[in-house]
């Protein structure tokens, strides 16, 4: 899997809806694939297309004014089903960063495991981003992973974000959790011998 960027300046796609669950990001009927590829086509499927598979004009992904590598969404993004297909769809569509004021736990892990950076910002900052994009769809958003900040280029508004140091190293270097866990196999075997109730 490709290494994540260290730094990015991009326009953004706003979806100012709260509690976007992973069923909206990728509906269940598209979970039948047995590989990780091609899910981008069905990202937000039922918000993007009507029952006859015609694009819905009022959805942002169908509006050519909006594009970019940053998805900006309302609070509690990625709640519901643990399906990693949601992260695969977001990555496959071409997003590198998702910005929200709050992320569901499992989604956050799934995103990081697929080298998508979830950037959690304050409610106020999120509002500022939405306002800036509304005023100008070409608004540039800057995300700097190394220095852990996000900014709105036009207004200079800036906020720092948290990321766990371990996860940051993984993202910057393209390591995944399995590499680390596999390095612990001896310790795991050792642990198993010490457990009285190793069911």
């Amino acid at each position: 899997m490709s290494k994540i960027f260290q730094h990015l300046i991009s326009t953004a796609v706003p979806v100012p809806i709260e509690n976007i669950d992973t069923d909206q990001i990728i509906p269940a009927r598209f979970l039948k694939a047995t590989t990780r590829d091609g899910f981008g086509e069905n990202l937000f499927r039922d918000w993007r297309f009507d029952a006859n598979n015609q694009p819905k004009a009022d959805f942002v992904l169908n509006n050519s004014m909006y594009s970019g590598k940053v998805l900006v969404a309302g609070k509690n993004f990625g709640c519901g089903s643990s399906r990693e297909h949601a992260a695969w769809a977001i990555a496959d569509y071409g997003f590198k960063v998702v910005v929200s004021s709050f992320f569901a736990d499992i989604f956050k892990n799934n995103a990081l495991n697929n080298f998508i950076l979830p950037v959690q910002v304050s409610e106020d900052f999120l509002d500022s981003i939405f306002r800036a994009i509304e005023a100008d769809p070409q608004t540039q958003i800057e995300v700097d992973l190394e220095n852990q900040f996000i900014s709105i280029k036009a207004t200079g508004e800036k906020e720092s974000f948290d990321i766990n140091p371990y996860k940051k190293t993984c993202l910057l270097n393209g390591y995944d959790d399995i590499d680390y866990l596999l390095s612990l196999r001896q310790e795991i075997g050792q642990y198993e011998t010490t457990r009285e109730f190793n069911f």
Partner: protein, 464 residues
Amino acid sequence: MGKTLFDKIWDSHIVMSKAGYPDAVYINTHFIHEVTSPQAFDGLRKRGIPVFRPQKTRATADHNVPTMDQHLPIKEALSRHQVEMLTKNTAEFGVELYGLGHPYQGIVHVIGPELGITLPGMTIVCGDSHTSTHGAFGAVAFGIGTSEVEQVLATQCILQYKPKRMKIEVNGQLKNGVLSKDIILYIISKISASGATGYFVEYAGEAIRSLSMEARMTICNMSIEMGARGGLIAPDETTFNYIKGREFAPQGADWDKALAYWKTLYSDSDAQFDTILSFDAADIEPQITYGTNPGMGMGVTQHIPALGEVEEKERPSFKKSLEYMDLQPGSALLGKKIDYVFIGSCTNSRIEDLRLVADFVKGKQKAEDVVVWIVPGSKQVEAQAKQEGIDKIFADAGFQLREPGCSACLGMNEDKVPAGMYCISTSNRNFEGRQGPNARTFLASPLTAAAAALTGRVTDVRSL
């Protein structure tokens, strides 16, 4: 200082805790199903490594399977392929499979407990968010993504940050017609769909203690719907009696040893929680959801909030939700006509649920223009229902008793609610399109669903 139940289990499963790294947590039982596992097995193949402890993973086919004619090949090509991949992968990697046709097949969160695989003190994961169900036994059980399924297959461990702890007490006694499903829908409606994000929840209090194991599973099942990593309940005599004698439960001397250990599994009286919430069981009436997330619920006799009662910031999402549902802010749901009733899913498809519904509808008929699907959680539940004659009661009432699977809970197979139709469902999610594109879902208890099946309308079960 004492420890919480969660900490006792978590701490005793840490293989490695290094500064700056997440904990490497040992997993006792790993469940897999056809939808979230194929890419994980592929990952192992790419790395050229085996499943580390194949006997600690159990597989079943549930999400994608038809609920009619399961003895025939699956018609839909992609579903068939996915189920075949599970068969192939489990055979190749030496993992036990309870696939279609196996007497143990069923929804993954129904079969683990009923087979005695799920035990107190365990760590349990599955590539499925409702793994929290198993917490009812006093286990630390939570859902994971496919990359994490691969981690567990490869190392029997998972990397996790320790969540915060929340205690939710439900004190006092439940009123008539109120089930454990109503308790959890009520709690979620009070604290919202994200109210417990970042937490592991322990449920406590008299009203919780008084519940059967199956009713406790319903509560823990929906922990994820308030954002929690998982939920658990300290094991007690009810738990031990349920487990004893089940297929894979410890026996003889092992049982005695296990029991002695399980009796140490409770939160110490001086244990610290990060948050404690208390509710009074007497305040809970039968619940129903009106919106498109499980936090949008209310008592069945209440009104949907008026626009003015919703915080201004939340109004756009609230309006979008009600437009999808084609409901008016401020209106009541009682008497609203419904088209489908779905009794099933890992929340409410166990034998007690079916018995309760059967008792309630015995000798009665469903409303004429309502379709009623009863989908048992497992082959064993189905067999038990037939043995008890419950299938006859359902047939007489005009209900369809189908074969086990996730079914209309997520509409991955043919069991979809048609666009625009209203379904009262005992499942756990009312998301847009969850039960089929443009289908509209009201979540409720099995009793409230059964009442609606008889009247064809949203009904207060206490009035029948």
